[in-house]
């Protein structure tokens, strides 16, 4: 276990290669030997990329940054599941001990019309930024705040808001959904702010604007399959979608 006792794996990798958003893509097959089970999934990709470069071939492009499961940048669709086979982890936190010697691993980018492929495994998720810009905030300019302890917030509300705020904006929920719906992502932000006293003033307006922005970006409708919750690495719950639907109803019939 752990502590450098890793055994080694031989693997077959089928990786999606696509030059840019306009080009057609296809799978490329690579054999890898001697992959330590202590490696992370992305470190396995580092090994593969070094091998490609040494052979004079272009490295596979993929998004990543923190490699700690918090920035939300990594985004691989592994064996038919966003972030791979393990529940509750991002691609960067997936370790090779979750695979067996001789496995074939298929790796694709997030697939959604709203997330066009940039190259290989990297996609454009700026739609999420635009949704937040439409209303995912509390309108308070710097310098206008009262003393923080003047706002009392019951611990349970603070904890619940925190649970929703833990979303890392990775987009796995969209990639998991057969309709490419962004409801889990949007509802997490709507919930966080709806649960807090500071978020009350703009509550109705916020949900209307954010849902409108979401629809405009071309995300699909939610048909309650629950695939998003099952694949979300941060355990964002379907409760949030239910809450957003209630918020939406309340806001629409004011």
């Amino acid at each position: 276990m752990g502590s450098g006792h890793g055994t080694e794996l031989n693997l077959t990798l089928k990786v999606w290669r696509q030059k840019n958003s306009k080009a057609a893509g296809s799978f490329e097959t690579h054999q890898l030997t001697g992959i330590s089970t202590d490696m992370s999934f992305l470190e396995m990709f580092d090994v593969l990329n070094e091998k490609l470069i040494s052979e004079g071939k272009e490295a596979i492009a993929f998004d990543h940054d923190c490699r700690e499961g918090i920035c939300g940048m990594c985004s691989m669709y592994i064996n038919g599941r966003p972030h791979g086979p393990k529940q509750g982890v991002t691609t960067c936190q997936l370790h090779m001990r979750s695979f067996k010697n001789g496995d074939t691993i298929v790796v694709e980018p997030w697939r959604s019309a709203a997330f066009p492929v940039i190259k290989d495994l990297a996609v454009d998720r700026s739609a999420f930024d635009r949704i937040i810009a439409s209303g995912g905030y509390i309108s308070v300019n710097t310098g206008n705040a009262q003393d923080a302890n003047n706002i009392l917030i019951p611990k349970t509300d603070a904890d619940e808001a925190f649970g929703a705020a833990a979303c890392i904006g990775c987009g796995a929920c969209v990639a998991a959904c057969k309709n490419s719906s962004a409801m889990l992502f949007v509802s997490a932000k709507v919930s966080q702010l709806a649960l807090l006293p500071q978020g009350q003033v703009e509550r109705k307006e916020r949900v209307l604007k954010m849902v409108e922005a979401m629809d405009a970006e071309g995300f699909g409708n939610c048909t309650n399959t629950g695939a998003c919750e099952a694949e979300c690495p941060k355990g964002i719950s379907l409760e949030n979608i239910a809450r957003m639907n209630r918020e939406l109803t309340a806001a629409s019939f004011k």
Binding site: G4, N20, I70, V140
Partner: protein, 670 residues
Amino acid sequence: MSKLDSKIPEGPIDQKWTKYRSTVPLVNPANKRSLEVLVVGSGLAGASAAATLAEMGYKVKVFCFQDSPRRAHSIAAQGGVNAAKNYQNDGDSTYRLFYDTIKGGDYRAREGNVHRLAEVSSNIIDQCVAQGVPLAREYGGLLSNRSFGGTQVQRTFYAAGQTGQQLLLGAYSALQRQVGSGNVTLCSRHEMLDVVTIDGVARGIIARNLVTGEMEKHFGHAVLLCTGGYGNVFYLSTNAMGSNVTAAWKAHKKGAFFGNPCYTQIHPTCIPVSGDHQSKLTLMSESLRNDGRIWVPKKKDDNRKPTDIPEEERDYYLERRYPAFGNLVPRDVASRAAKERCDAGYGVGNSKMAVYLDFAFNTARYGRTEATKRNIQNPSQEEIMRLGKEVVKEKYGNLFDMYQQITGENPYEVPMRIYPAVHYTMGGLWVDYNLMTTVKGLYALGEANFSDHGANRLGASALMQGLADGYFVIPYTIGVYLSTEVTRMSAEKDKTDSIDKLKTKHPAFDAALKEQTDLINKFLNIKGTKSVESFHKRLGLIMWNKCGMARNKQGLTEAIAEIQALRKEFWSDVRVLGSADEFNPDLEKAGRVADFIELGELMCKDALHREESCGGHFREEHQTEEGEAKRDDVNFAYVAAWEYKGVSDWELNKEELKYENIKIAQRSYK
């Protein structure tokens, strides 16, 4: 005369900022609309600055290399953010936070800046809560606090082990609000490659669109570098993979002095290296030292399982050496103590380069408290541990999960194995009190500047500083310069070739653009045999071995020669594939590694010249008999600000540090 003017306002320390703030020149609202500010970086410093400046009416553009500003490396900060609120009524005050920070920095920070930081710390918490940042609360609904190293009060605010994430998402939402209302233009997946200066004044930047490869010119009346730290010069660090020094380094080459480059923070509690494949190291937050006790076996090469080693055969070496602060000594002290034990042969785990961080003692303590609270009579040991684990999970759940995910071991059952790792850089671009670098119109905020932490940063102070700079300092201090720009603009109103009319059409932009385009083509045309990654790894090894936790004259001299050789090899044998006009992460990295190599040399030079030990800079030649850092206040109580003169050529400028309010003393945590 010194080229450095820190511009610290006159007057008593506790009035400097308030007085200055109320007398700085203002820019009227109509003029603000015609002033453009470029903010490079969207971490806590960049996002807070950009949002606030846009709220004030300036036209702002924000750049980041990630696909979204929300992913800046600040997102990964775990433990917390300090503020002198004294909510716990444990004797905290602005002065105490000021004092702790100066002392924690081993008397190598500026008093004026640090006092200002302590003063605005409270406002940060107010602002974040108003934005809806869900900081941890007590049952009564009030905010909760924890302790961090180097302090004896509880002033750290937190959101589980995800404080940076929550604070950044707060700043990001404020930023996106300004994007939504058209006051900020967002340029994600853009990398700044150079500052454009005209007659020594910053007028804009050159950036590469990382998706299309297009080289772009951007004009600004002021440029703010909020580009984070350079810990990745060591290859392995707790920084994100993309964190880099390029923006700061290019600014340095355009005239911005680099302050104290050798001051690096090695964080004591990180997950140890597991093999050659290792691409980065993962921090286990300092907050864990609230409840974790650090120990090694008393016997060398003790191969028993940690849980089989009885209490009396364990050496809780921090508690032994530093009874007053125990496990909560500052980071530099804790890191060196771990290295000392491992070097002496007491390390644990396969590599023997690790010590234990053990939660059993406090888990049991929490368990007993819970049992009492719940009225459970005579609870069994098992029951106690079960209850205790619930409490520990609530406090540190995500960190424990992360540890288990990475190591395959369960830290609720066996102690964590930890070892120090590069974490933060106190050094950075030299700035004055206004946060302006030595290049007019060019500012540095957050980890990218050198200013507030001296030779060692205390935990939970970087988030505080980034947000202080962005929300509460720059919005005032930028006016000092921009008000002169307003005057200049009106004087040059009728000039046909004024910079305001030409903007990016000014020839200086074309020259800079060409220089950067040529550089990119140069990378692609070397067509050597070794990958960019391999150079980065080799640089990291030199830096870690010779400019890491312990440094000496011989090692540093060797390191400089090795880095110079590595630089030559890089420029003749690096292999960068693909093309310039596409998304090409390997090409991006080539530029960053080229800059790291140059920076590495300067760090070693700085470390070599500083013939003393202070904070994170430990020169083996300068230590006390007990192995503690030995400062030399007579000769080294200054900021070393290096001026770039050409390849491998720098001139040292000194800013003397004056301590008027705090008596400079030997730092003791015993």
